[in-house]
């Protein structure tokens, strides 16, 4: 058995979820290799090289991959994998992986296994369905298993190694039917939502974007990432990529603090692997209390300044 991990990065740094995906790969086999496609990959490779468990890194440095267009990536990876004997191809279940990996599965005519949370054996996996209200144990009969990995369920691998790197060239025509226009990156000095130790999120109860300042002060003190419920994002209080939940980001920090969030199943789906959950809500009947280790009933506008002061 041999596993290929597809590395997500931004041409500067490796995404944490890639390191978690390597850990998942290692649970399947000792023979784990990685492929990186991008442009100007030096710093990415320097970081990735340190990954424990990797036997080899293949890199394709080409302007075709400057932006992660799924068409170019999937075609190149399929061509590369075709000539090899990989039994498993793993990607992180991020928007990068979700966009690209199903294309790879279609090119190879296999049924992808999305968002696995546990590896039972080399062909059997667990994955949440129905917003995590049920956990399916599935067995794949495909020759090659194409998988996306829920990164919060696997620790990132340690970084004590020095892995061999081989440079490859591609023979791929530029896909002229799709082109990259722009990337509007959310500006933030805070840790990434999906890998932060502490996350503080606001919901509709925050009333407007301005009031998220009340959470910012606390996030600053705790070094926390900031998130939100769908209702807060839909209302335009905060950027779209702050949404935590079934159809947003899945988080599993040591501490998740939900403020002015009712606790709809779709939101809970994104937070229930957190070690500890605390909440502030003025409605003591709100479902969020059923999922919180520590719940505080009261008006957030009164409680948040006090909390910031006490930290």
């Amino acid at each position: 058995m041999k596993v290929l991990v597809i590395i997500e990065h931004d041409n500067e740094t490796v995404k944490q979820s890639s390191f978690s995906t390597i850990t998942a790969a290692k649970e399947i086999s000792d023979s784990v290799e990685a492929i990186v496609l991008g442009q100007g990959l030096d710093s990415v490779i320097n970081e990735l090289k340190k990954s424990d468990h990797l036997k080899k890194i293949y890199k394709i440095d080409n302007e075709l991959f400057k932006n992660p267009l799924a068409e170019n990536l999937s075609n190149a990876i399929q061509k590369f994998a075709e000539g090899s004997d990989y039994t498993h191809i793993l990607s992180p279940s991020s928007t990068f992986g979700k966009n690209m990996s199903p294309k790879l599965s279609a090119l190879m005519d296999v049924q992808q296994i999305s968002d696995i949370t546990k590896i039972i054996s080399d062909d059997t996996f667990e994955r949440p369905i129905y917003a995590g209200n049920a956990i399916a144990k599935v067995k794949s009969s495909d020759q090659i298993k194409v998988i996306t990995v829920r990164s919060t369920c696997f620790e990132p691998c340690a970084l004590n190694s020095s892995v061999d790197v081989e440079s490859l060239t591609v023979n791929l025509d530029k896909n002229n039917s799709v082109s990259f226009v722009s990337y509007d990156k959310s500006k933030s000095d805070r840790p990434e939502l999906t890998s932060a130790k502490i996350v503080i999120s606001g919901g509709r109860g925050m009333q407007n974007g301005e009031n998220f300042r009340l959470l910012e002060g606390i996030a600053d003190k705790l070094g926390a990432a900031m998130g939100a419920s769908r209702a807060a994002v839909d209302a335009g209080f905060v950027p779209n990529d702050w949404q935590v939940g079934q159809t947003g980001k899945i988080v599993a920090p040591d501490l998740y603090i939900a403020v002015g969030i009712s606790g709809a199943i779709q939101h809970i789906a994104g937070i229930k692997d957190s070690k500890f959950i605390a909440c502030i809500n003025k409605d003591e009947e709100a479902p969020i209390f059923n999922f919180s280790d520590y719940g505080l009933v009261g008006d957030l506008f009164e409680l948040l300044p006090k909390l910031e002061e006490k930290l």
């Binding site: 294309k103 279609a106 209200n133 599935v138 520590y294 719940g295």
Partner: protein, 251 residues
């Protein structure tokens, strides 16, 4: 332009999911079913484009049991022109199978735009649109939060990605999958619901497509998720900080 909108019948998002005691799946008897919420967004987008005369015809496609006709009808009531049901007795099909069927239907219908939801809220797979685009060898714009038609037969699509918003330009024909912020779907009015009853739904047998519908993934069992230990309510901010510091030790 012609749009093909793919809609799936799923357990309504408000229903409390119950796992069957024999672990074979989740309870679907006497459970409210609805159109997958992302697919409502897909229908809505097509209807808005038709209202702007960017689209002339909207075909609503579902692959499922006879009951999926209801789901197609809801799409017709929102503004779809006609429907296609690809009928099967199987309660669940895998995304690869569904993708192959959608491809086969597209080969006949030749739509300029295929719109799907980004994710079905039952299997949570997030695959089908990407598979369709790959099989048809046309570009994809997934997780769309904004869609703009250019005069040169391209679409400019803003996509919700992890770090922010990405914009891509795709040639038509193409596949778009919808994210939550693309639009707010309308409720069908009573007259439109009545009118939808007159609209045509073609029913095709899944067997007529020559697609192998055998599952590649065998569901061994379906279990309840682990429960979280019940927590406590604390009296004030001081008590909260104290618990977080000294009991949970996370501060």
């Amino acid at each position: 332009m012609k749009a093909l909108v793919c809609v799936k019948r799923v357990i309504d998002y408000n229903v409390r999911i119950r796992v069957k005691s024999d672990k074979s799946g989740v309870e679907t008897d006497n459970v409210k079913m609805s159109m997958n919420p992302f697919d409502e967004i897909a229908v809505e987008e097509a209807v808005r484009m038709k209202e702007k005369s960017q689209i002339q015809e909207i075909v609503i496609l579902s692959i499922g049991t006879d009951k999926s006709q209801e789901t197609i009808r809801s799409g017709l009531a929102m503004g779809g022109d006609r429907g296609i049901l690809v009928k099967t007795d199987k309660e669940q099909l895998e995304p690869l199978t569904v993708g192959k069927i959608i491809k086969a239907v597209s080969d006949r219908e030749k739509p300029d735009l295929i719109i799907l939801g980004k994710q079905a809220i039952d299997d949570d797979c997030n695959q089908t649109g990407q598979i369709v685009a790959t099989l048809l060898e046309i570009p994809q714009a997934t997780f769309a939060s904004e869609l703009k038609k250019n005069d040169d037969n391209t679409l400019e699509v803003t996509r919700e990605v992890d770090g922010g918003l990405e914009t891509v330009k795709v040639n038509i024909p193409c596949v778009v999958t919808t994210d939550l912020r693309l639009n707010e779907p309308r409720y069908a009015s009573l007259p439109n619901i009545m009118k939808a009853k007159q609209k045509k739904i073609d029913v095709l047998e899944i067997g007529s497509f020559g697609v192998d519908i055998k599952d590649r993934l065998q569901v061994l069992e379906v279990n309840e998720p682990p429960e979280r230990k019940p927590g406590i309510k604390v009296d004030d901010v001081e008590a909260l900080v104290n618990k977080l510091k000294n009991e949970a030790k996370v501060l």
